[in-house]
Amino acid sequence: MSQAERTALAAPRTPGRALWTLGLLRSELTVMFRRWRTLALLGVLAAVPVLIGIAVRIETGDGSRGGPGDGGGPAFLSQVTNNGLFLVFAALSATLPVFLPMAVGVIAGDSVAGEASGGTLRYLLVAPAGRTRLLLTKYASVLVFCLAATLVVAASALAVGALLFPVGEVTTISGTRIGFGEGMLRALCVAVAVAASLIGFAALGLFVSTLTNSGIAAMAATVGVLITAQILDTMPQLDAIHPYLFPHYWLSFTDLLREPVYWDELVRNLGLQALYAAVFGSAAWARLTTKDIGV
C-alpha cells in the first residue's frame, strides 16, 4: 500500500454540505472553461466587436464624424465614431439577437445530453453527484457562461473602441450628458442586463438537454427553438403572444442609457426570464430525476 492510500484511509470523511456543492460547481466551471469548444465560442464572440469597430472605422474614413442617424445596422452604431464606449452598446445590440443566445444554446443544450452521450453521466450519478445537485450545478455553470460571454463581448468592444475611437463623456438617449466614469458603470449594467436576458433561454436549453442522450441533437433543438421564437416575435399577426416570448424584451437594456433610467421594460424582461427559468427549470428537474440512465 502506498503512502497516498494510507493517507486516504486515515482521513476522516467530513461532511460539509456547502462545500460539497461548491466542489462540483468548481469542477464544472474548470471543465467548461478548459474545453476548446467554450474557448472557441468566446473567441468568436470577442471577434464580433473587432469586426464592427474596424468596419465603422473604414466606413467613416480617418476618424471623420459620421452624421447621427445615418445608415441602418445595430443601434448606437452612428455614435461609435464620436465615443468608443458606444461600441460596447453597439456590439451587445448586434450579438444579443443571434450570437450570444446561440453560444448559450450550445452550452446549455450540451450540458446534460453531452454527459449522457459520453457515458460520463452514469459515473457522475454513481459518484454520487445527486440528480438535483447535478442539475443545479449545470444550470449555475450555464448562467456563469451567459455572464462570461456577455462580458467578453463588452470587454472586447471596450478595448477596440478605446483603441480606434476617442472616448469621453457620454450623451444618453435622453440627450443629457454623463461623465465617462458614469458611462462605464452604465456599460457594466448593460452587460449584466444582457446576461440576465439569457436566463430564461438557458433554462429552456437545459430542459431540452434532459430530453435526449445526444448532445448534438439537444444543441440543434435549442438553437431551433431560439430561431423560431425570434421569427414569431417579428410576426405582427401574433401580437397577442409576443409578451410571452423570451426574446421579446431583450432590447430593453437600451433603457439603461436613458436619464433617468426607464425601468418598466427592464423589470418586465426580468419577470419573463424568471418565469421561463421556473417553468423550464422545474420541467428539467422533473425529467432528470425520473429518467432512466440507460447509456
Binding site: G119, T120, R122, Y123
Partner: protein, 328 residues
C-alpha cells in the same frame, strides 16, 4: 449430516443482515416490452467475491444499473448495504465503487483530472486529500506514468484501468464491477485478480460480472448464473461446480474388461474411446481407491486412473445451454 446441510444451504441463500446486496422480485421491463430482468432474488453475502454470470443480453448490466439507482425497477425491491435503492442512493453510493458497462472518461481531460472530477462529484469526499487519493488510485491500477496524458489518447485497457481507479478513489465497502477485465492484457488481468483478492482480504465485498469463467473460478467465492433475465442458480462456487458432475477416467490396454468392472460397480454414462474408458464420477460415498483395487483385482492393467473435476464452465454450459445465439 447436519454439517453438510449447513454447508449447502449456508448464509448465502438465507436473507439477513449479512447480505450486502439483496433483491426481491426485481424486474425491469424496458419500454418496447422487453423484459430484461425477471423476478430476480439475488443475495450477495458480506465479504464474498461474487461472480455474476450469464450469456450476452441476459440482464447483468440491467441488474447492476438498478442496484446503482440509474434505472428504476418496474417492480420489486433492491437493498444495497442494507438500505433501499434508489431511495438511499446518497448515503449508500459513496461506499460503493462502480464500473458499469465499460469506462467513460472525459476525452479532453487527463487521467488525473478525470479522477479529480469524479471525486469532486462525491459530496462526502474530502477535497484536501483528493490529490493524494487520486495519485493512490492511479498507482493501484498501474496508470501513474500515463496520469498526465489526455484520456482520449488512452488505449481501451488504459481506459478500463482508469475506470477501476475511479472505483478505488475511496475505501469502499462494496465494489460493483461490470466486466472489469474487458480489454486488459494478460498482465492486467492478473493484476486485477490480485487486486480483487487484496480488496476482499481487506473486507470489501466484490460483485463482478464476467464472461471469463476460469477467472470467476479463480477469484470468486460465490457465483450466480443468469439467463434470459432469470436467475438460474446462486451459491458458493465450489457447490456450483460440484453440481455438474465430474468424469472418472481409466486409461488401460484392456478397455472392455475395465468397462465391465465399472458397470458391475454401478458406474453410469460409460464411454470407451481407444484405451480410455470414462464414466460419470460415482457419488461421494464411493471410495475411489476401492474402485481402483476392484479394477486391478479384475485383471485390468491400469495405466492411469482419476476423476476430472467439473469446471465452472461445464456447470455454466449445463445451465445455460450450448446454443451460441443471443436470446431475443
Amino acid at each position: 449430516m447436519t454439517d453438510t446441510a449447513a454447508a449447502t444451504t449456508g448464509p448465502e441463500t438465507e436473507p439477513g443482515p449479512g447480505a450486502v446486496i439483496e433483491t426481491r422480485g426485481l424486474t425491469k421491463r424496458y419500454r418496447g416490452g422487453q423484459t430484461a430482468v425477471d423476478g430476480l432474488d439475488l443475495t450477495v453475502p458480506s465479504g464474498s467475491v461474487f461472480g455474476f454470470l450469464g450469456p450476452n443480453g441476459s440482464g447483468k448490466t440491467t441488474t447492476i444499473r438498478m442496484l446503482m439507482g440509474l434505472i428504476a425497477p418496474t417492480t420489486g425491491t433492491a437493498h444495497v448495504l442494507g438500505s433501499p435503492m434508489p431511495a438511499a442512493a446518497r448515503t449508500v453510493l459513496p461506499q460503493v465503487g462502480t464500473l458499469i458497462e465499460g469506462p467513460a472518461p472525459y476525452g479532453f481531460l487527463t487521467g488525473r483530472d478525470n479522477l479529480a472530477r469524479f471525486d469532486s462529484a462525491d459530496p462526502t469526499s474530502d477535497p484536501r486529500t483528493r490529490r493524494a487519493r487520486v495519485a493512490g488510485a492511479l498507482d493501484r491500477v498501474g496508470l501513474s506514468a500515463a496520469a498526465g496524458k489526455k484520456a482520449k489518447a488512452y488505449s481501451l485497457g488504459m481506459k478500463q484501468r482508469l475506470g477501476l481507479a475511479a472505483a478505488l478513489l475511496q475505501p469502499r465497502r462494496l465494489l460493483v464491477l461490470d466486466e472489469p477485465t474487458n480489454g486488459l492484457d494478460p498482465q492486467g488481468m492478473r493484476e486485477i485478480r490480485a487486486l480483487v483478492r487484496e480488496l476482499a482480504a481487506e473486507g470489501t465485498t466484490v460483485f463482478l460480472s464476467s464472461h471469463l469463467l476460469d477467472e470467476i473460478e479463480q477469484v470468486c467465492t460465490h457465483a450466480a448464473v443468469m439467463a434470459r433475465g432469470r436467475l438460474l442458480v446462486q451459491g458458493p462456487v465450489a457447490a456450483l461446480a460440484a453440481g455438474a458432475r465430474g468424469r472418472l477416467t481409466v486409461t488401460t490396454p484392456d478397455p472392455a474388461a475395465a468397462a465391465g468392472v465399472l458397470t458391475a460397480h454401478g458406474a453410469t454414462g460409460l464411454v470407451t474411446e481407444g484405451d480410455r474408458v470414462s464414466a460419470d464420477a460415482p457419488p461421494g460415498e464411493v471410495e475411489l481407491a476401492d474402485l481402483n483395487a476392484a479394477l486391478v483385482r479384475g485383471g485390468v492393467r491400469v495405466r492411469a486412473f482419476g476423476v476430472e473435476r467439473a469446471s465452472l464452465e461445464d456447470a455454466f454450459v449445463a445451465l445455460t445451454g450450448e446454443g451460441f445465439d443471443v436470446a431475443g
